[in-house]
Amino acid sequence: MRVRRAPPSQQQVTEAFRALANEHARDREPLDKRRTWYALQYESRMPRAAMRNARVRWALAVAVFALGILVGAPAWQAWTVLRYDAHGLATEGSNLKAGDAPAGLAFSDGSRVIVSPRSRLSVALVGKHAALTRLIDGRLHVTVHHEPDTSYRFLAGPYEVQVVGTEFDLEWLAQAGGFTLVMQSGEVRVLGEGSARRVSAGQTLRLPGQRQPAAESTLAVPSSSARQPPAAAAVVASVPSVSKTANVLEKQSAGGVTASATGDWRELLDSGRFSAIVRDADARGDESVLSTAPASDLRVLALAARYTGRRALSLRAWQALRDRYAIEARNQGAAFFLGRGYEEQGDGPQALHWLARYLSESPSGAYASEALGHRFLLLSKSGQSVEAASSAREYLERYPRGAYAKSARIVAQPE
């Protein structure tokens, strides 16, 4: 039986512990001393803690770098590279193709391209304010936002339109009408066969297509007496010219009038002959057409008038569509086009009214993001900063990476 001793005192514990620890340390010390001195003498070393700290610092630096790449790359890309939202366009290989309704491209720098039905194109983004668009076939209405480094290039057949900030219509019908450029504002440079040409606001340039002789190019200037917008005037002014191309268009247009079938307008729209549609409507009497034409013709006329610069006629056509065919008008986004039309005319209150109307009727419609974007920009321009900020915040919530997100962030900030 083991005899239990009295509990140890503090001193006993201390002395025993000290003796044991010293014994252990003494046993180990000579060997460790040699190892340590060898390491100090022959290994270039720093304290392990310092090495650990250095490793930690390196690891942190690598982690921060990786995090920076992860977070910064998209932000850098968003800041440095142009983006666009395509509305109503289907992909066809590497190309985009519009369906039966007008489609659109909204670029992140504020530039816009309205694509006529059945048009085909491809877009390559090449810089913060630079894009290369190849119009394979069809018609575009282009508005390029101007920045010091803007460089938009549009290739149409053998021709190239270089833009730094302007608005124009571009048509390329490889097998029929050839190249048609209707300038509405600004100036562009057109390269292609022959020397470069400068085309200014109000002028229309026609160049031959692939089956037409090279001599058939014309540059029409606007009529000084015309009350119409410059682009429309240019188109009209070019009609009586001796241009064979113009005559071809005239004949085609006349054919549309004599046939007087509503299906012809659709064909003309699909082939991009917008001015022919407008002239046909003028010949038949605008009021008569607006009050009697079916919904599909009103939509075609509204689009054709818009593309040819006849904004007033376009607005009346959209309005007639709304008055007479409410459901079709809603489906076609008439309210949106009314809003944009009024905005282009400088009528802010009407534009805001119609954009709001469109958003309430079609909150998730094809043009909702653009309508919301234009709404907060209009509100901001008109000094309604509170409403503009609210609308911008709504835009950011719904389209945080949308084409107007950059502007929305600026407008949404409290002053």
Partner: protein
């Protein structure tokens, strides 16, 4: 800088010579300092970190820091206290790192650090030392440093406070807490208590 004085005249002379060598940047001052203080540094680290710790590298760390900064020491009497301060800082940093590693071992299943064999040949002594070191491991790094310097190294409280960079009352409180904890834990372990009593001889106090 902490200032710990040595009471032995011979030690004092050696310290003066060494300080002179350091100040004059003599060729062998590092070797002399290493020979003079290795046992001290090794013992402090061994007692603070436990008998199973690999401390050769940590001793090397202490001397690397010392060699880099020794020529800034203005008084011979401060050389030893400076080394003690460096050693205890390195020991406490290692203790904190060990705790972090232990937490990682628990959380993500990393392998435990390899243990080193305890040196005494006597199996009972080995077991007692291991059990005492486990009890000491329950102390915080600061309490452990105070315990080693005061209780195991017989250093006065003032010098402990100076070496650890705390007030004397703080040092005293840490020493008291550490001693109380160790005594309480030893008394709970009958075998360990009996061994310590038998090893230390007759009781000096109740």
């Amino acid at each position: 800088m902490a200032r710990i004085t040595s009471s032995k005249p011979a030690t004092h002379e050696r310290e003066e010579d060494l300080h002179q060598a350091i100040t004059n940047n003599q060729a062998d001052w590092q070797r002399r300092a290493f020979d003079e203080y290795h046992r001290l540094v090794h013992g402090l680290l061994s007692k603070t970190l436990g008998p199973r710790a690999e401390i050769a590298d940590l001793v090397g760390d202490v001397f690397v820091i010392f060699f880099a900064n020794a020529q800034r020491i203005r008084q011979a009497s401060a050389v030893r206290s400076y080394l003690v301060s460096i050693t205890m800082n390195v020991a406490r940093r290692e203790l904190r790192a060990r705790r972090r590693r232990a937490l990682l071992h628990t959380l993500i299943g990393w392998p435990r650090d390899a243990d080193r064999d305890v040196s005494p040949d006597d199996p009972k002594a080995k077991a007692a030392l291991l059990q005492l070191s486990r009890i000491v491991e329950e102390l915080s790094p600061n309490e452990r440093a105070a315990f080693v310097l005061h209780t195991l190294e017989n250093m006065p409280v003032a010098e402990v406070a100076s070496a650890l960079g705390v007030s004397e009352s703080t040092a005293k409180r840490r020493v008291r807490r550490a001693n109380e904890h160790i005594l309480k834990r030893v008394r709970r372990n009958a075998l360990l208590a009996d061994y310590l009593v038998a090893r230390s001889g007759p009781s000096h106090a109740g």
